[in-house]
């Protein structure tokens, strides 16, 4: 299968191929562009003088080779950006504000540039004919973050890209229901990460000012230890890229080779097609991270003995397991027995949810104890391609999902793993609280779906009938992450 978008078409169709997106702002916008390109957006309008665009164009050309051609148009004035189907600005309120209201606009503000002193990453949406929602200026001086890392932005960008995609697809047969319902209800402001908790998201008609009275701690990057990553697909390969700066050595295990259809969601490039994934990833990571050692193992790990041997031979200090197969159980039993902290992750069908179970060595619940209790939520209706396949031998190439869904999952799994790599004293408060409560089954959802209401969910007076009926995994806002404890799961 040589169709680059084979796993994406069932989710977004061809609707994005003809779209043109205007991007203004700083180099942080590059990641958003990458996600939208991976969904099929090929035409880009950018302002002259943005040097990051040339670097990004070169990076994407290297990744996709002749399989994908992008069209970059440079403009000299903000007004020319009005020709786009969507304008996205990162820390570019002034530029976006100058655009006519005839086109949909999305303004993203990072905490260091927030007039509301928010510690959240905020996205404001203005649909055609609308102005941006008002935000009240907090007035007070912001308090700096202590020991920053870039996980907040990294884990937010797939969600922001997904919001942009929702704007582009609104009203089409591939429209994203949660967002369309939200906009109908007046939602125009989206906030990712609130105060001290990066897992929380809010959405509302407008942004609210926040008063920060304490510094926020983020784990510093120390580059230590040996990390084992088993499974180098959409989750493992992307996580490996982001974890490379956090460790001295990575053991990469996967039996498969790179295929053309992998490029759109996984961390491989056109030149690596045909190479074993473990080898390709090891070479690319060592080339881009000076001092990093990588050990590629082109193999499957199937029993505890093999894992114990690896841990012993390489002195593994933490692990990320993303095979998405039954092998996860044997691998995690071995890691648990050797008290190696580990994270086990997978995506649910079509990437609507991801699950990351954190095991802090020998402490707390094991992966098996958590995994047995999690009940899958309602399945989505089949895509047209899946429905067709019921009548005959199907030829769907893997689970349909875009890089936004799998990338968000991968980055959060990487973020959780990075916390397991460092000593307990350096871990962030939001995770320490969850570990103390044995709430180590993290489930994130890109949309809101009906599900079974758990007995432990508290009803409030504000609850609607829909609330009482329950939402899948407690996810009430797109991008929310809920950490479940063993006691809650096995109720």
């Amino acid at each position: 299968m040589n169709d680059l978008f084979a796993r994406v078409r069932p989710v977004v169709g061809n609707a994005l191929d003809a779209c043109q997106v205007a991007v203004v702002g700083c180099s942080a916008a590059a990641q958003l562009v990458e996600y939208l390109v991976a969904c099929g957006v090929r035409r880009w309008l950018v302002m002259e003088g943005n040097e990051w665009v040339a670097a990004l164009a070169a990076k994407l050309a290297d990744r996709y080779g002749p399989m994908l051609t992008l069209q970059w148009t440079t403009t000299t004035s903000v007004e020319e950006l009005a020709a786009a189907d969507l304008a996205v600005g990162v820390d570019a309120a002034e530029s976006i504000g100058q655009l006519p209201t005839t086109l949909p606009r999305m303004l993203i503000r990072r905490p260091e540039n927030s007039p509301t002193h928010s510690r959240s990453i905020q996205a404001l949406v203005a649909l055609p004919g609308e102005g941006f929602p008002l935000c009240k200026d907090a007035g007070a001086k912001p308090i700096p973050i202590c020991a920053a890392n870039d996980w907040d932005w990294l884990t937010a960008t797939p969600l922001l890209a997904r919001l942009a995609r929702a704007i582009l697809l609104r009203g089409t047969s591939y429209g994203m229901a949660t967002w369309e319902e939200g906009w109908f209800a007046g939602i125009r402001a989206y906030s990712i990460g609130t105060l001290h908790d990066p897992t929380a998201v809010l959405w509302d008609r407008q942004m609210h000012a926040q008063n920060i009275d304490a510094p926020i701690y983020r784990t510093p990057r120390l580059s230590q230890g040996t990390l084992l990553i088993v499974g180098l697909g959409s989750l493992g390969s992307v996580a490996a890229e982001r974890l490379a700066p956090w460790v001295k050595r990575i053991i990469l295990v996967d039996p498969d080779s790179v295929e053309p259809v992998n490029l759109i969601r996984q961390a491989y490039s056109y030149q690596e097609i045909g190479k074993p994934k473990a080898t390709a990833l090891a070479q690319s990571l060592m080339a881009s991270h000076l001092g990093l050692a990588c050990v590629p193992l082109v193999a499957s790990l199937r029993d505890e003995g093999e894992v114990a041997d690896l841990v012993s031979r390489y002195g593994v200090t933490a692990a990320l397991v993303t095979t998405g197969t039954v092998a996860d159980f044997a691998i995690t039993r071995a890691l648990r027995a050797l008290a190696v902290p580990h994270v086990v992750g997978r995506c649910y069908p079509r990437g609507r949810f991801w699950e990351g179970i954190v095991v802090d060595g020998a402490a707390g619940s094991s992966y098996e104890q958590m995994r047995r209790g999690v009940v899958a939520g309602p399945l989505p209706p089949p895509t047209p391609e899946e429905a067709l396949s019921y009548g005959a031998v199907g030829d769907l190439v893997g689970e349909p999902a875009t890089a936004m869904e799998t990338g968000w999952a991968a980055l959060w799994l990487a973020r959780l793993t990075a916390q397991m790599i460092v000593p307990v004293t350096l871990r962030e408060g939001w995770l320490l609280a969850r570990l103390a409560a044995d709430a180590t089954c993290f489930i994130g959802g890109v949309g809101v779906e009906q599900g079974v209401k758990l007995g432990t969910e508290q009803e409030t007076e504000e609850d609607t009938e829909e609330d009482r009926a329950g939402v899948a995994y407690g996810i009430r806002v797109p991008g929310q992450i809920h950490a479940w404890s063993s006691a809650q799961i096995n109720t």
Partner: protein
């Protein structure tokens, strides 16, 4: 049911199996040598042995390689007894990759005249039926293959390829909930919760067999598997 690991499980009464006039006591230790989960999931192991003895007493647990019963050089099946996987016929110790249950499920033959041809084809192919209370029951041969991570992962329940061929059914068709090699798709993604083999057969497999017989009688798959295929 199996949410918690039990470190001390009361010993259960011996379970005997019979095949071809021979009988033996199922040896847990021998089973555990073949499949590691037997030692980890003692409660599940006991529940399966007891459940099958109660509800499917003619089924036997044998060594298997994939969905095929492992065979001794003499052709006899290997069963966990007397400290190892031993041949039922000659007693020699053999090897297998796993364990599986094999037996027959009695299912009412369909009354439609269009099914008569299928029933005759099954008899010609050597498959059995029995008459009880004046009603004909097809004896559908099945195997239930234990996965290595039982009961955390669902079992593989498979039809004999020749049985499917006799009914002119494919070994793989998503619309028939057959996922290849005659294996039945019994659970949607993420739906599996630990349950005993007997419960799988009772709650899922019987319906699956009945649905396939409907298809063999000329009913469309969407009607045969009502509510399971959402178009």
């Amino acid at each position: 049911m199996f949410h918690k690991h039990q470190e001390s499980v009361p010993a259960m009464a011996e379970i005997s199996h019979r095949l071809g006039g021979r009988s033996w006591v199922v040896d847990s230790q021998a089973a555990g040598q073949t499949m590691g989960w037997v030692g980890r999931e003692v409660a599940a192991w006991h529940a399966d042995l007891q459940g099958m003895a109660t509800h499917f007493p003619h089924w036997v647990l044998v060594g298997g390689n994939g969905s095929r019963a492992a065979a001794c050089a003499c052709g006899g099946p290997l069963v966990p007894q007397s400290g190892g996987l031993c041949c039922v016929l000659c007693g020699r110790v053999g090897k297998a990759n796993g364990l599986l249950w094999m037996g027959q499920l009695p299912v009412l033959a369909r009354p439609e005249p269009s099914f008569t041809v299928r029933r005759e084809a099954l008899l010609r192919a050597g498959f059995q039926e029995t008459i009880v209370g004046g009603l004909a029951y097809l004896l559908v041969p099945l195997v239930v293959v234990y996965p290595s991570e039982w009961p955390t992962v669902e079992p593989f329940v498979c039809y004999a390829p020749s049985w499917l061929r006799a009914l002119e059914l494919p070994e793989y068709n998503a619309g028939y909930h057959l996922v290849g090699g005659g294996r039945a798709c019994l659970f949607g993604w993420g739906q599996w919760r630990p349950m005993s083999v007997a419960a799988v057969l009772q709650q899922r497999m019987v319906n699956h067999v009945v649905s396939l017989l409907k298809i063999a009688a000329g009913i469309s798959p969407t009607q045969a598997f009502i509510g399971r295929v959402d178009h």
